[in-house]
Amino acid sequence: MADVAQQNVHQAHPGETRRDFLLLTAGAIGGVGVAATIWPFIDTLNPARDTLAESTTEVDLAPVQVGQRLTVKWRGKPVFIAHRTPEEIKAAQDVDISQLRDPQKDSERVQKPEWLIIVGVCTHLGCIPLGQHTGDPRGQYGGWFCPCHGSVYDTSGRIRQGPAPLNLWLPGEAELASKALYKFTSDTAITIG
């Protein structure tokens, strides 16, 4: 008798039973529960609040002469601040950007043409390019040269040669901020972050 009843149910909804429905919903809710439990474990590995809090740096630009470059530390990384000479600015602006690997106009990379502010971390594998000190190799475009695998950057910090795929990041750009994370608080001071 019971067998017959069971068969009837099967025939009414071929391939689908109440049991299937219960299994699926229970499974789905269980799955969501497991995922929600695992997430905190994974999230502990993400940057902690104190690490995030370290993330603004104020810089006084007044002592930086034209042609000088200054390195400051922001979120544990070097930020390159270059007080560019008129020639450097012109060289950066005159490039035909369609020739570039990561096409970007110089004006998209600076807020004031004299001040180039970029993260000093090679976009290849994270070494710190040379060029901040007088006497450092700066590569053939007068910008920066990465000693690790030979990437060459121009006076706008754009990639020109070597294995790096992208231009040197603007502060915050690598962390997917929509615009560069620094602002001029006066003519000669900036806050990064």
Binding site: P47, T71, R75, E175
Partner: protein, 426 residues
């Protein structure tokens, strides 16, 4: 009348074995375990790897009792181990050079497998488990190398974790997640330490699986033919325990030579400079055992189709190990041992030369001829794996195989009378 009852120890063992067949198991797997009678010294490297794993765990735990995993203190704590802790220098040099020795042994073990076709039926899973151990070993050694927090530690960690940034879209997020911050830093060091402590024990578990798989069908042997009966085998103990011990002694002499006379020969002097996140050393090189992968990584200086050169390099460097998983099916020859494979026997050495060439490339700055050699050697590696292995198996005419291990041993120089008879325990 003499007392014929078993002694007290025997009775205790019997009591335990009846409930947990542990002694029985050890006896079966390590004492009477039938082993091909013709194993050469190339078969020593398996047990040597096992011993090195134990050495690494013992020295590692002792180091861990003195080491501090914090960006501010790590470097100094290692220097303290070197200068102030009693025999700390010995522990550290044993652990440091032990890593190198471990890899040397594992690589010889792996190439032994390649030469004698040890990855073929029915040992495919045994081989695959071995490749998994290699991957874990690479990860463990890499994270260990970061712990002393010298310049090389720091920049090796930076460059290697940055490999993941090559993954499109989610790459940069993954890297921040791995670091637990915006650069390699204190949180990174802590988690690497936790994993460096954990992974060796995972390796122990997987080594046990490796042994279970090994003992299912027994060792391969230089002839690459199956055991056909008791006349082909000898008990593991005392024949191979003694041979393994002899090999161990020779190995320990070499190990001790490095530890006592050239402890820093295999390392990089830059790692005695404390980590400086604001300055990259001029030449970053990984430890010697990772050089070939590093060479492959750097050899791709051009995009492949729509894949950027950076991502392509990363994919190929990982593939160079992953491809080994498929070797049992890439090699189409039914004959295991290269002894009976006239073409493979020679081509095998090309792979050895190729890997050494890659090592050389990885150690040198990527300029001029180094880049070209690197690109050719990388190309050859994949041609060898993907084209030569299947092709040679099809084209080659293997030499006739001996009818059995004992028959071959008998005709091949061993003129002792009764060489074909089973060897019992002495």
């Amino acid at each position: 009348m003499a007392d014929t009852r078993p002694g007290a120890t025997a009775r205790i063992i019997r009591w335990i074995d009846y409930r947990l067949p542990f002694v029985q198991f050890l006896n079966h797997e390590l004492n009477e375990y039938p082993t091909p009678r013709n194993l050469s010294y190339w078969w020593n490297f398996g047990s040597l790897s096992g011993i090195m794993l134990v050495v690494m765990i013992v020295t590692g735990i002792m180091l861990a009792t003195q080491y501090t995993p914090s960006a501010d203190l790590a470097f100094d704590s290692v220097e303290r181990i070197m200068r102030d802790v009693n025999y700390g220098w010995l522990l550290r040099y044993l652990h440091m050079n032990g890593g190198s020795m471990f890899f040397a042994i594992v690589y010889i073990h792996l190439f032994r497998g390649l030469y004698y076709g040890s990855y073929k039926t029915p040992r495919e899973l045994l081989w695959i488990i071995g490749v998994i151990i290699l991957l874990l070993l690479v990860a463990t050694a890499f994270m260990g190398y970061v712990l002393p927090w010298g310049q090389m530690s720091y920049w090796a960690a930076t460059v290697i974790t940055n490999l993941f940034s090559a993954i499109p879209v989610i790459g940069p997020g993954i890297v921040t997640f791995l670091w637990g911050g915006f650069t390699v830093g204190d949180p990174t060091l802590h988690r690497f330490y936790a994993l460096h402590y954990l992974l060796p024990f995972v390796i122990v578990a997987i080594v046990l699986l490796h042994l279970v798989a090994l003992h299912r069908h027994g060792s391969n042997n230089p002839l690459g033919i199956d055991q056909k009966g008791p006349q082909d085998t000898i008990p593991f103990h005392p024949y191979y325990t003694i041979k393994d011990l002899f090999g161990l002694t020779v190995f320990l002499l070499i190990y001790a030579f490095f530890v006592f006379y050239a402890p820093n020969f295999l390392g990089e002097p830059d790692n005695y400079i404390p980590a400086n996140p604001m300055q990259t050393p001029n030449h970053i090189v990984p430890e010697w055992y990772l050089l070939p992968y590093y060479a492959i990584l750097r050899s791709i200086t051009f995009p492949i189709l729509f894949i950027s050169s950076k991502l392509a390099g990363v994919i190929l460097a990982f593939s160079s190990i992953f491809i080994l998983f498929f070797l049992p099916w890439l090699d189409t020859s039914p004959v295991r041992s290269a002894r009976f494979r006239p073409i493979y026997k020679r081509v095998f050495w090309l792979l050895v030369i190729d890997v050494i060439a890659l090592g050389w490339v990885g150690a040198n700055p990527p300029e001029g001829i180094v880049v070209t050699v690197g690109q050719i050697a990388t190309l050859y590696y994949f041609i060898h794996m993907l084209i030569l292995f299947p092709l040679i198996g099809k084209l080659e005419r293997p030499l006739p195989l001996p009818s059995s291990i004992s028959a071959a041993v008998q005709s091949g120089g061993a003129r002792l009378s009764g060489a074909g008879a089973p060897l019992a325990k002495p």
